[in-house]
Amino acid sequence: MKTEKETEQPTAEIYGQQKINGAEALLNCLVEEGVDTIFGYPGGAIMPVYDKLGEYEGRLKHVLTRHEQGAAHAAQAYAMVTGKPGICFATSGPGATNLVTGIANAFLDSVPVVFITAQVVSSLIGTDAFQETDIIGVSMPVTKWNCQVKKSHDIPETIAKAFYIAKSGRPGPVLVDITKDAQLEKLDFRYTKCDYIRSYNPHIPMHTKAIESAAIMINHAERPLILAGHGILISGAEKELREFAEKTGIPVASTLLGLSGFPSNHRLFTGMLGMHGNYGPNLLTNEADLIIAVGMRFDDRVTGNLKKYAKKASIIHIEIDEAEINKNVMVDVEINNDAKEALKYLTSLVKPNSFEKWIREFRICDKTEYEKVIKFETKPEKGELRMGEVVSQVSELTKGEAIIVTDVGQNQMFAARYYKFIHPNSFVTSGGMGTMGFGLPAGMGAKLGQPDKQVITFVGDGGFQMTIQELGTIMQYKIPVKVVVLNNNYLGMVRQWQDMFHDKNYASTEMVNPDFVMISKAYGIASKKVWNREDLKSSLEEMLAAEGPYVLEIAIEKEGAVFPMVEPGASVSEIRLNY
């Protein structure tokens, strides 16, 4: 690789001049970067690294997952709840390719994860050697940056660069592929953290003029709406967002990944945007005269039909990634800056205001949504158990203090809709990628990242079985994550679409499932199945009180569907409250 010669800063000789091998150098780099937990899986090409791991006991904890995909998701969740980059090890070939779903997931959701893959010895590269895969080529479209290292002396600089790129700007996954001979080759180890790359500019000077024109627009708006995305959490701008919203009195709506960036019990919070978001923020997006989008990317699940999206509104877009501006929605004012810095300056320029009449419109929508959807979903009096009531009881029992992790599908949408988030970074989900199988490994990653928090993972019976082998990891490391299996014996979300758009042709969505309680018990994990409404609360309490891991299976009504819904191709204002 091309080395970075630009940084001519004095290098501290931390490890003196003794010769160590590349594997040790890698582990030293991780220690230098403040890493404490690694998720991974060994194999032929990465054995030199695992050979040295034992010497780092007490400094680096390695968690052996049951599949590389599990390691990738766990590392991502760990990063999302700690704010530190997640670390993931895999061997060459299948080890590396098994990571790809996890890498792509972290890429779409802007999460910093440093993936270290091993590669066959450099003399064999290109020969279709045993367990050789061109992981650089494979991961190119789904990493923020990747690099292959064939010489041990390139390891420290490459790892430093990888961490800097993963964490800064719009964060994302990076992959460093290290050949086996580079792991074994000796080098003089020195480590300097990277803080500058000539071709990469995460520190964008403040666009003061754009922010000033945004302030004028905000001061003259009559029906403004803030759309808060994941960027709020990534930039740590929760306080700045609150100050901005409170000073201007502008209502706030959140994207799926933006949830927990603004307290859901705040009087200005109007709910979640998007396909299964709340009624008010979707419907009223098309009534707003000004949209202030912060740290979000106008994903198609948020906007619905772009031709009919927010046509009455001028749009201000605060976004650190310039490529996201004018990508889906053409904006009037582009502020290509970090959310925190931009909001701070913007707040100083806007006048105090309030929009009580406008906010009342949201409250009227809330009432409609409550009467037509929420009441029935969260407080049903008869019929089988519903996902909504489970999530809402968990929300009440934990008082919003838990970290909620989800799989993908109906379980995810119900968790997002009915858990009342109060604290930043208390929601971990697979947003852009929609990866089934994310929930269980992400749950254990989140619990290891925040051991003092109650971590609850909602999974469906489909997604649970995509990565169910991670129960083994939970068993081995005694990770006290609480798993709620919302079992309707169907791939519920797909079934819902079949119901609505495919003439009830339930093709390949019915599942014959094993006994999840027996499976959990085989792994030595406490488990129970709930069938009846009267047992729900006590069973949830029992799960929450359990010291160790717990799998609570809940038999859920088959015909359940998530509403409201913006149908694919429909406008956000055509949001439906029922079939």
Partner: protein, 184 residues
């Protein structure tokens, strides 16, 4: 409306950068009409010149995605009137066809070509110019027994006043010695 754009990309010398760039074009189903690469006026910085046909809106999106790549320094997009550009073509033509009358004289005078090599069997002719001029010559030479034809990608120099070095300086000042942003 689709039109021709010339993308000038300044990049670091990182293995795989070309793959990353073509992935962006492939995802958007944009064909590369012409491509060339060489070291730029700044040592160690490479200039890639890519010609594509697309819309103004799409070229802006694609350029921003290219500039986002870690090892790309700067991306400029230009319509053909904003740049000075050339392509070079080499023709291998059977000598006997060209020897009649004033064919060669005519070629040199009206097409402004250079003759690089002459042998009893073939002649190598070089033509530098825009694509249309090269295509004209190609059509003209075909009846004489064209044996081989090869053409380069476009090379382009921008008319804009600001040069890469001033952008580099600006980027340097914005980013050097800044502390890392804290996460969460």
């Amino acid at each position: 409306m689709k039109q021709e754009y010339t993308i000038s990309l300044f990049t670091e010398d990182h293995i795989g950068i070309l793959g990353q760039i073509t992935i962006i074009l492939t995802r958007r189903q944009i064909n590369i009409d012409s491509f060339s690469a060489s070291e730029s006026a700044v040592k160690g910085v490479y200039l890639l010149t890519i010609v594509v046909k697309t819309t103004n809106e799409m070229i802006q999106k694609v350029a921003r995605q290219m500039e986002k790549l870690i090892d790309v320094l700067k991306v400029f997009t230009h319509t053909s009137d904003q740049i000075i550009y050339q392509e070079i073509a080499l023709f291998k033509v059977a000598t006997k066809g060209l020897m009649s009358g004033d064919t060669i004289d005519n070629l040199v005078r009206s097409y402004n070509v250079r003759i690089l090599e002459v042998s009893p069997e073939y002649m190598i002719i070089e033509k530098t110019g825009h694509r249309a001029e090269i295509n004209d010559l190609l059509a003209h030479l075909e009846p004489f027994g064209l044996l081989q034809f090869a053409k380069s990608g476009r090379v382009a120099i921008t008319k804009q006043v600001r040069e890469l070095s001033s952008y580099l300086k600006e980027m340097d000042e914005a980013n050097r010695f800044k502390t890392e942003p804290t996460l969460n």
